[in-house]
């Protein structure tokens, strides 16, 4: 890896009651790099995301983003620092339109609540913000649906909106938690294509938690395998997937 490390997590440990969800997990992502995290259900992938993102408080370990420790940072600050994420269980703003999803994220990424401007009726989005929203709508192929409330979208488009929302404010790291779950083959292919285009055009780094190995192989440069809260193996995609222990723990159990 020649690129500087963007995210470095060291020794993340998290216990829920009697369950050791994460056991000294370390993970690093270089700028612009795409890293996959795979593992059976309950391995701790989502918990790892939550610890990196500030939704869970790890019992041990530290997270450094862009050379800066973010351990004590609340979620919204990490987001503004340049981390975008999606959720395994979709979290859309019910009742809002597709375009407003992106706009809200763009404005929030840019900073403050502008109550005085609101009261002076100057609280609208800036041309630059609108432009970025249009760009992302275009990239995701959501232009036609811009004015639709998200509640009326199918799952595939819902996941795209979530992805788009995470991409607003030009993050340097995207964390995607099983973006293809619930999608059919066609939607998944489209997702893979969009992910590829996004990475090419923005150079954003990606951490991808995913069960669909085709999508993983098409997207990531490196792979971590998590099992029972421990990193079982990590390294290049092909070599990790060839590892017999990985095959037994993961592939064997899902095959």
């Amino acid at each position: 890896m020649t690129a500087p490390a963007l995210l470095v997590a060291t020794g993340i440990t998290k216990q829920f009651g009697g369950i050791l969800a994460l056991d000294h997990v370390s993970l690093d992502v270089a700028a612009g790099e795409a890293v996959g995290v795979v593992g059976p259900n309950g391995a701790g992938k989502t918990t790892l995301f939550n610890c990196l993102f500030g939704l869970d408080d790890p019992d041990e370990g530290s997270v450094v983003f862009d050379g800066q420790s973010i351990d004590r940072m609340p979620v919204w600050k990490r987001s503004r620092l340049g981390i975008g994420r999606t959720f395994q269980r979709m979290e859309l703003f019910e009742g809002m339109t597709v375009a407003d999803h992106l706009l809200v994220a763009e404005q929030a990424a840019n900073g403050t609540v502008r109550i005085w401007r609101d009261l002076l009726h100057r609280g609208g989005p800036t041309p630059a913000e609108l432009h970025h929203v249009e760009e992302v709508l275009d990239l995701l192929g959501l232009v036609e649906l811009a004015g639709r409330p998200v509640d009326t979208l199918d799952l595939g488009h819902g996941r795209l909106v979530e992805l788009g929302r995470a991409m607003m404010g030009k993050p340097r790291l995207l964390m995607l938690d099983e973006p293809s779950s619930g999608l059919d083959a066609e939607d998944t292919t489209r997702l893979a294509r969009i992910l590829g285009e996004t990475r090419r055009s923005t150079g954003v780094a990606v951490v991808l938690v995913e069960h669909d190995l085709a999508l993983v192989e098409a997207t990531v440069d490196r792979l971590y395998v998590l099992d029972f809260g421990k990193v079982l193996a990590s390294g290049g995609v092909a070599e990790v997937l060839a590892d017999p222990e990985v095959r037994r723990a993961y592939l064997g159990s899902t095959a």
């Binding site: 859309l92 019910e94 407003d100 994220a105 929030a108 609101d118 009261l119 609280g123 989005p125």
Partner: protein, 700 residues
């Protein structure tokens, strides 16, 4: 030490009664997901039955059995069947409003059924209440204290046996531990829930019966206070643990006597005691939230849809347009969207017929007020305007931001008192006083918000309830604030040569204040902040993760809302000429929330109509013969029940009906033409959605 003992022992009977409430609250909360604030009313109903029966000559034991073992459970079962069972998975607001409504309405309904309030002082269930039967150390124990303590011990023993040794008790314990796990294990949660309701209603009933002799007369208010103590005990039990709730209630009973004993009598002791629940809530609520995560399956919660959660809230102009399938023309943003292929406008956004209608009604009302309307009607209308301002504060807070406050009346009172005090002591013009009152209420809002707003939903509602109680007991009696029972005079304002002392000019001024308040709410709702708030309502988690500082946003809205309420209160005070603590007691906050929720939190029109409805109700209560005043309460109760079917509020329902009729007509006039609304289909089998047509927002 013996001093402590002397203070603590008399606290035990109180503690017992509180503990019964706390345990009952936790039991139903865990078994059915509803935090039943109507518990206080249920306690009152049984106490009323008990005292009435004794007055009619029944033996006390028989009256106790009827009140506790028959009436108590029947009320509980009826409420569960009719109401609470339907809202298990609804949003905190939809769960809370009915129980608040019942807290107010149920005692009135019971009084109507009973025919009259009993005149005898409530007796203890056994023995002579006042007679001292034995001494514990040097502490005399009266019949009342003994009967309370002994019956609580018996009840707890029975409960323990039930939970330990009977299958249904074991199942219930399982439900309390982890409702989800139990469902997975195939236990019929409905049956368990019904059983929990019976059991907890009996506890509320017993608490009511036991408590009643402590007062010389039955008054629903005392039972609401009892409820608040019970809530504090339940919070100590972290909403989850029955033994902890029991100990919590008991401990609070003892603590309040000890506090009262050690501190000098007077304002501090009298004030500190009732504010103990607030302190307890502030300390223990954050812990309670932690505990909820400990359910081993809580990480696997099935997602509840917005529809299930009954998310209904303020709709900005964009959302209204979007849900009608047309892209709105407000602002640059949407003009640009229109240029996009998918954003084609499906027709110029026609002025909704209901919006026009509201404007016509408003103009006619104002014109009449200024011309032919008699003075007392004008006064009522003006009260409606002042309350509309207060209701707007709830439109902002609850409708837009989804937070539930049970202390809006407190803020209104503080604003009013402040305006009056500043005018009386410092000669500050009242108009400035109103602004100052609003600012003060806003500042206090921040003080309340900072410790409580990490909690959303139910915990916040409880914390604000406790704050309202604290204000009633400490702030309002203070001569620098509410000046106790004598209250504070608030003069009518004048600006230079223009005096607003007369009724009509003051009405015009009030309209001006309302317009400004409505303008603020609308600008906030349709601006960036409104978009943020609507995101937070949709998913707090996702809002945080796109970079919205949800906590700060909440504090901001809470403060702004408190300020609006303060201005409304000041306006009301100036209208009436004086204000006293009774005008804005904590129960008023509950009524205000219920009224505006039933009318509609989704629009500015909703707040205005709520103002009219509320003052009309008040006139009805005070001017009708007492018998009918009770009927108003019954109506109120029925409206509360219907609220669970229409959490979007009746205005929405009405205007939805009107709009579909109009749309039909239009479609008929234009054969083959588009109906102009690509309304999404409503999800099957659910009426409780915000899927009806949006209400007119013309009044903004």
């Amino acid at each position: 030490m013996s001093q402590f003992f002397n203070y603590a022992v008399p606290g035990v009977p109180f503690g017992c009664v509180f503990a019964l409430m706390s345990v009952g609250l936790v039991l139903t909360y865990k078994a059915s997901g509803v935090f039943n604030l109507a518990f206080g009313a249920q306690a009152f109903v049984s106490a009323l039955a008990y005292v009435s029966l004794v007055q009619d000559g029944w033996p006390r034991w028989a009256a106790t059995v009827i009140a506790v073992a028959v009436i108590g459970p029947i009320v509980g079962i009826v409420l569960d069947r009719l109401l609470f069972r339907r809202i298990r998975t609804a949003s905190p607001l939809v769960k809370l409003v009915p129980s608040l409504g019942l807290l107010v309405a149920l005692p009135q309904v019971a009084l109507i059924i009973a025919g009259s309030t009993p005149t005898i002082p409530p007796p203890a269930i056994v023995g002579d209440a006042q007679h001292v039967y034995l001494h514990l150390g040097s502490v005399p124990l009266s019949g009342l204290e003994l009967s309370i303590t002994v019956s609580t011990i018996v009840v707890v023993a029975v409960l323990v046996a039930l939970f330990r040794f009977t299958p249904v008790g074991l199942e219930m314990r399982a439900v309390v531990e982890s409702p989800r796990m139990t469902e997975l294990a195939g236990i019929n949660a409905g049956r368990i829930s019904a059983f929990a309701w019976i059991l907890s209603s009996m506890m509320a009933a017993l608490a009511g019966v036991l408590l009643s002799p402590l007062y010389s007369q039955l008054d629903p208010q005392n039972f609401t206070v009892l409820l608040v103590w019970g809530v504090a005990g339940a919070v100590i039990g972290r909403f989850a643990s029955l033994p902890l709730a029991l100990l919590g209630g008991l401990g609070l009973g003892v603590a309040q006597q000890v506090v009262a004993g050690y501190l000098p009598a007077g304002v501090i002791a009298n004030g500190l005691r009732p504010s103990l629940p607030f302190v307890v809530l502030l300390v223990f609520l954050p812990l309670a939230r932690q505990r909820q995560i400990d359910d081993p399956l809580s990480g696997c919660d099935p997602p509840s849809s917005a529809v299930e959660r009954g998310i209904t809230g303020y709709r900005s102009a964009t959302t209204v347009a979007a849900s009608e399938g047309s892209v709105h023309t407000v602002g640059v943003w949407h003009q640009r969207l229109d240029a996009l292929p998918g954003g084609r406008m499906t027709g110029i956004l026609t002025r909704r017929p209901t919006a026009t209608f509201s404007w016509v009604v408003a103009v006619v009302a104002v014109a009449s007020a200024l011309t032919w309307v008699p003075p007392d009607w004008l006064l009522t209308m003006n009260q409606g305007v002042a309350f509309a301002v207060i209701f707007l504060s709830l439109t902002l807070l609850t409708g837009m931001s989804g937070q539930i406050s049970l202390c809006q009346a407190t803020f209104a009172g503080l604003g009013g008192f402040m305006a009056g005090q500043l005018a009386n002591h410092f000669g500050l013009p009242v108009v400035l006083g109103m602004v100052a009152g609003g600012l003060l209420a806003g500042a206090l809002g921040v003080l309340v918000a900072v410790p409580t707003l990490r909690l959303a939903g139910l915990p916040l509602a409880l914390a604000t309830l406790a704050f309202a109680l604290l204000a009633d007991n400490i702030l309002f009696p203070n001569s620098w604030i509410g000046n106790g029972a004598s209250g504070v005079t608030v003069p009518r304002p004048s600006a230079g040569p223009v005096s607003f002392a007369a009724a009509k000019p003051f009405f015009v001024l009030s309209l001006g204040v309302l317009a400004v308040a409505a303008g603020i709410v609308k600008l906030v709702g349709d601006g960036t902040m409104g978009r943020y708030l609507s995101a937070v309502r949709g998913s707090e988690l996702a809002a945080n993760s796109v970079g919205i500082d949800v906590y700060r946003l909440r504090i901001l809205v809470f403060a702004l809302s408190a300020a609006l309420a303060g201005v409304g209160g000041a306006l009301f005070g100036s209208l009436e000429g004086s204000l006293s603590a009774n005008d804005f007691g904590y129960q008023i906050s509950a009524v205000l929330l219920v009224v505006v929720a039933i009318v509609g939190l989704g629009s500015i029109t909703g707040a205005v109509v709520a103002g009219v409805v509320y003052t009309t109700l008040q006139v009805a209560v005070t001017s009708l013969p007492t018998r009918f005043a009770g009927l108003v309460a019954v109506l109120f109760g029925l409206a509360t029940l219907s609220y669970t079917r229409h959490p979007e509020g009746f205005l929405d329902v009405l205007s939805g009906r009107v709009q579909s009729v109009v749309a039909e007509r239009r479609a008929r006039r234009l054969p083959g033409g588009p109906t102009g609304s690509g309304r999404r289909p409503s999800p099957p089998g659910d009426e409780a959605t915000r899927d009806t047509d949006p209400v007119a927002e013309g009044a903004g």
